[in-house]
């Protein structure tokens, strides 16, 4: 976590506030003024069809893409105004689980997990680093894979290792980009359970991008439905399930 006390100064109960975010690609407006708030300790699912701009939205939140308009406030910081150094500090407090896992395939699992620590927690001794790596892998049930290469693991195991790497800096917010896509229903459910366990154990706030309704049901405290670049509907799983809106109903039928 960031150790600069000034960095924690402006936080409130809303850990992420997104207002009027717009983003276009070659004239195609994907986000047309999307707004939402993520409260401390909650898991917000952003539900939407493939290509609706869900991944674009969280990539804007983590600073991988720059919105054309709007403001994004993360842990009290307007990320569009942050310097590169401050953005890097903020990124230590925000974990990101990529849809493709994005494990460094030239490194072992241990090196993958050590990678962010070697840069941000240089005061840790080798024993402390090792302790953290083992603890993070134990959290996801894969302590025995520590010296394997990512290519030696199954898709589900890679997802767990990627999650362990996301946890290694003990982030306050975790962004999950379609965490169960490409996994079989049982492994998908295990990953969903893991997301809930992590949320309960570390009290993280999370945004889950998904269209897998089993994952949505298991993880969501609240759901925002993204349609045509705006927040089309909002509510809990049960509220949306009871909706008579034809578009919303399609997700639950």
């Amino acid at each position: 976590m960031a150790e600069d006390p000034a960095f924690h100064a402006k936080e409130g109960d809303n850990v992420i506030v997104v207002e009027g975010v717009k983003k276009s690609f070659a004239g195609n407006e994907v986000l047309k003024g999307f707004d939402f708030v993520l409260h401390k300790g909650e898991t917000l699912v952003i539900l939407g069809r493939s290509g609706s701009g869900k991944s674009v939205l969280i990539k804007c939140i983590i600073g991988l893409m720059k919105p054309d308009a709007g403001t994004i406030n993360v842990l009290g910081n307007n990320i569009l105004e942050l310097s590169i150094g401050d953005m890097d500090k903020l990124r230590m407090r925000v974990g990101f689980l990529f849809q493709s896992n994005a494990l460094y395939d030239s490194m072992t699992i241990r090196e993958n997990l050590e990678f962010p620590m070697r840069r941000h927690l240089r005061h840790l001794t080798a024993d402390e680093v090792n302790e953290r790596v083992v603890a993070a892998l134990t959290d996801v049930g894969l302590a025995k894979t520590i010296d394997l290469m990512p290519s030696e693991l199954s898709g589900g195991m890679q997802k767990r290792v990627a999650l362990a790497r996301t946890l290694i800096l003990q982030p306050e917010i975790i962004l999950y980009d379609e965490p169960t896509t490409g996994l079989d229903p049982i492994t998908g459910m295990e990953i969903s359970d893991l997301i809930v366990e992590i949320q309960e154990k570390y009290q993280t706030s999370s945004i889950v991008i998904s269209h897998d309704m089993k994952c949505v049901e298991r993880t969501a405290d609240r759901i925002d439905v993204l349609l045509n670049g705006i927040c089309y509907a909002e509510g809990t799983y049960d509220e949306l399930k009871a909706s008579t809106d034809p578009y919303i109903k399609q997700y639950f039928d």
Partner: protein
């Protein structure tokens, strides 16, 4: 004056490579330096390329000596083979041959590695973990390529001259000591230095083009293959252009 689209693309890409090179120098001189990754890349780029570059140098020395021998015999100057091979290897064959092999092996591997890291979001992953991927991936690889090619070329020159000695002794007889002293007798500082200096530029060109092509890979796995391929093609062409420039410059200023 109107330019065709392909001409515009070439100029556009040249501009982007220039910008990429500018960023390399900016990042090179800003803290913090990724020393561990640099040493790892030196091992991969240098040590692991040595067998291939050494082998091609050896074969080239062997073949050239066998082929030029009959012509030199016609003029009765076969005793000049060590001098001729030494000069041609150190000045031209060694640097250019090593650089081209290096472009094929290292340029393509850098292009493919960074390209696959781009399409599998590993570069984005470094970014979100608060690591500067340009510094970690590009600066270390370009620097390793720049530093390692001169070393490889020197070794390739030595191995090539040894290959020439073996070929010479298949028909004639000369001790290794005499062969080497003949090589050095005709080599001047002005032959060695420009040839040595240009290998730094060749190494830099291979590194920067490989990284540029890989770092900006688009269009998924097909793009990775294209990045590896064009890294080799562009850096090979650049090696010849740089070689031409060096020859012109050294000729103009009267050395070599």
């Amino acid at each position: 004056m109107k330019f065709s689209n392909s001409t515009k693309e070439v100029f556009n890409e040249a501009g982007e490579i220039a910008f990429f090179t500018g960023r390399f120098f900016k990042e090179l001189f800003s803290p913090r330096f990724e020393g561990r990754e640099f040493l790892k890349q030196c091992y991969i780029v240098g040590y692991k390329s040595l067998p291939l570059i050494g082998l091609t140098g050896f074969i080239m020395g062997l073949v050239l000596t066998i082929q030029v021998r009959p012509t030199l015999i016609e003029y009765g100057v076969q005793a000049r083979i060590p001098a001729m091979m030494g000069l041609s290897f150190v000045r031209e064959i060694g640097p250019v041959l090593s650089a081209l092999i290096f472009a094929g092996k290292i340029g393509s591997s850098i292009g493919a590695e960074l390209g696959s890291m781009r399409v599998t979001e590993q570069i984005d992953s470094m970014d979100v973990s608060g690591t500067n991927p340009f510094k970690f991936l590009v600066v270390t690889r370009v620097l390793a390529a720049t530093c390692m090619l001169p070393v490889l070329t020197s070794l390739s020159d030595a191995i090539g001259i040894f290959g020439s000695y073996i070929a010479f002794n298949m028909r004639d007889s000369m001790t290794l000591r005499l062969f080497v002293s003949e090589v050095f007798h005709y080599l001047k500082f002005a032959d060695v230095m420009p040839a040595y200096i240009k290998t730094y530029f060749f190494g830099f060109a291979v590194g920067i083009i490989g990284c540029y092509k890989g770092y900006y890979t688009r269009l998924g796995t097909a793009g990775v293959g294209r990045a590896a391929n064009s890294a080799v093609v562009v850096s090979s062409v650049l090696i010849f252009l740089l070689d031409l420039m060096v020859v012109q410059i050294t000729d103009l200023i009267g050395i070599g």
